[in-house]
Symmetry: C2
Subunit: 254 residues, 2 copies
Amino acid sequence: MDKETIIYGKNAVIEALEAGNRTFNKILISNSAHSDTKIEKIKNLAKSQGIIFQFVNIQKLNQIEPEGRHQGVIAQIAPIKYIELEDFIEQNKNKLSSVVILDGVEDSHNVGAIIRSCVCSGVDGIILPSRHGVLINSTVEKTSAGAINHISIIKVNSLVSAVQKLKENNWWVIASDHHAKDNYYDVDYTDMNFALIMGAEHAGISKSLLKLSDFVIKIPMLTNFNSLNVSNATAIILFERCRQLLKTAKNAKR
Amino acid sequence: MDKETIIYGKNAVIEALEAGNRTFNKILISNSAHSDTKIEKIKNLAKSQGIIFQFVNIQKLNQIEPEGRHQGVIAQIAPIKYIELEDFIEQNKNKLSSVVILDGVEDSHNVGAIIRSCVCSGVDGIILPSRHGVLINSTVEKTSAGAINHISIIKVNSLVSAVQKLKENNWWVIASDHHAKDNYYDVDYTDMNFALIMGAEHAGISKSLLKLSDFVIKIPMLTNFNSLNVSNATAIILFERCRQLLKTAKNAKR
């Protein structure tokens, strides 16, 4: 495992400083960066938390992040801490909870966008398999726009065992597959511990996981062009759940 | 304007060949590519349409698409044809129609994913401003997974004029903005010509367009982390419309 990871870009660094749950080793700021309000904010947050920041030549930043998207700021931080599934289940046992399981999603941008949608829609955790698909890297960090600091990240060796464990603990497991008969909006999500499995970009969800699922749902289309991006498909299902939860809360208040 | 553009990757090339509305100059296939069913399909489709294909050294492909995501296949094609807004309105005047307007979206991956969601959810066209944000390029082509061949692409000099023209022609213009009061799921989309404006990744929608809009809607969240990826936000709104249309159609059948 990497001893250190980087996050880059002004907003990503601010977000991680504000979240306060990451261990910063050092923040590097380009000595040619214009000192705008965001750079000032980074410096002030770093000072108040006792984090070292250092002005460096821009070439040093370009060396660390060669694609030049760092906006003059790179933070060197300890890698995200993965948590154990058992601990996650234990921590969430006294409320209705939710988790998204990614079965081999390969594109870091997709994983980052999915984490954003998860956090916005109140999902508590995300489960990634250790041996296929993407784990958390600096592209995921960046595209998550800081969302990664607001969700539990669970890494497991076997998704099959993870799903079995969730089911034993009274979670409902829902798989998204475009061959399904049931529509995603016909499931009532308001009264369950919710685990959503999304498949890899090309391969979809593995058969063993489909077989274990309590529901298999599809997103019905208005055309026969049946090819949604996986992060968009995830957002559609999560926000249908969100819509139902908000409507129920509203009705309960009446 | 470019005289030629490329699409790369087996699926993207097959999709464009099958759509049949693009002008192919030539298809280049790596002479070291394993001849699998997809490559055979490309060869057969090309033959039946009288399109030249040529076996070349892989270095030649790497030169044209340096990031190495071509999977051994690159097609050189004429650029997408943009259509005029007036023609689009005319072509769609005898049915309830829909269009998505991107106000300066900058990331090609986002534009590609948005086009996929548009086509899946039955949106007829997409309007891009000529002077800010992304136009159609080969990354958009690739990330759209071929969806680009199934939708009208309209390029306009002024989004303000475009929105005014849509309104004059009995379209409802809906802007997505997280400061809005109304929720996206409280609008009835089933009986309108629907134009949805989505804003740039950081800047959002320009004030002049917000002012012109008939509705401004937000996507309510379950947390105060209010930062959805723009392609995910677009998918959430488009598929709520899709859900309403499918439910209405089902009820009408009863």
